[in-house]
Symmetry: C2
Subunit: 200 residues, 2 copies
Amino acid sequence: MYPVISISRQFGSGGHSIGEKVAKQLNIPFWDGEIVTHAAEECGYAKELIEEQGESTSSASKWFDISTASAMYFQSPQDEIFLAQRKVILDAAKKGPCVIVGRCSDYVLRNAEVRCLNVLIHADMEHRIARVLERYGDITNIDVKKRIQKKDKQRRTYYRYYTDQQWGAYSNYDIALDSGMLGEETCVHLICELAQKMDI
Amino acid sequence: MYPVISISRQFGSGGHSIGEKVAKQLNIPFWDGEIVTHAAEECGYAKELIEEQGESTSSASKWFDISTASAMYFQSPQDEIFLAQRKVILDAAKKGPCVIVGRCSDYVLRNAEVRCLNVLIHADMEHRIARVLERYGDITNIDVKKRIQKKDKQRRTYYRYYTDQQWGAYSNYDIALDSGMLGEETCVHLICELAQKMDI
């Protein structure tokens, strides 16, 4: 059985696309946008709100503590969305091997009884700008760079807030790959190869 | 032609051994202790001093600036050793593909006209303690942990001092591997595979 593959990624690094291809190649479920759909059912908030707020902390409670989270005290909508996404991630991972993208999934799964392969995908700004332009089209380079920096900051803050750890610390990942330098296909190949080595 | 492979490593993570096996498998030169021998010839200091001081900054000049390094002003023995090792690394890399371990080689080679594969090898404390005990034998666990923490601090400070950057920042590496989680053989395999993909 393959491990659960958690992919943390910088915005514009191709982490979503890499994860999707890995899941397809290994023939296992892929969870990225799907987390949003299921979390919406879980907590009752609109998909659009979860999409917008699902990896940022703008409205998060100042008193949120994951250890007391079930007590429902001091929870902002943001905290409820985090908990709904957390439940979706845990449920998905417990069903069997799959690829899960972002949303602190490496941290959420750390103490679950699940075999995990934790992956980080990053790239330099130049490659990320090129990729975002290719994907989302016609915006000036300056806007794209600002957007990337904003997304980085949001995800970093979100991770910090809900895990009390630093996003991107190498010790949190079994493998970290520079997709700009190595290329998307090589990243897919290496991750699949590792998953196959862990197939017991 | 394979790239030059620079391996940064945590003490006790097996980076030396992984690098040695990669070099053997690809049939290219391996530079770790060899850097010390050549640097000794270069700067005239004893090999033992270079071994001891070669990745620490205890006696480094407070005014060292790599951009003015050739001016020979304010250089401590430590700075001279750094420069001698830097020259050995650059000379080795310019001769052709090889594996170079530590000594800020990723940074030293960044602006040299050399194709590089930058690798980070890390592992959790438990695996590192086991490895150091296996390699250096009979010391109590507490001593080993302290020794590892001291070496980490020395290398971090050395890297910070001579490169003005944070050691272990994921953006400095094309691939970062947890040797404790993945195992030494898998690390060797993945690095060789990447080098072969870059073989042009």
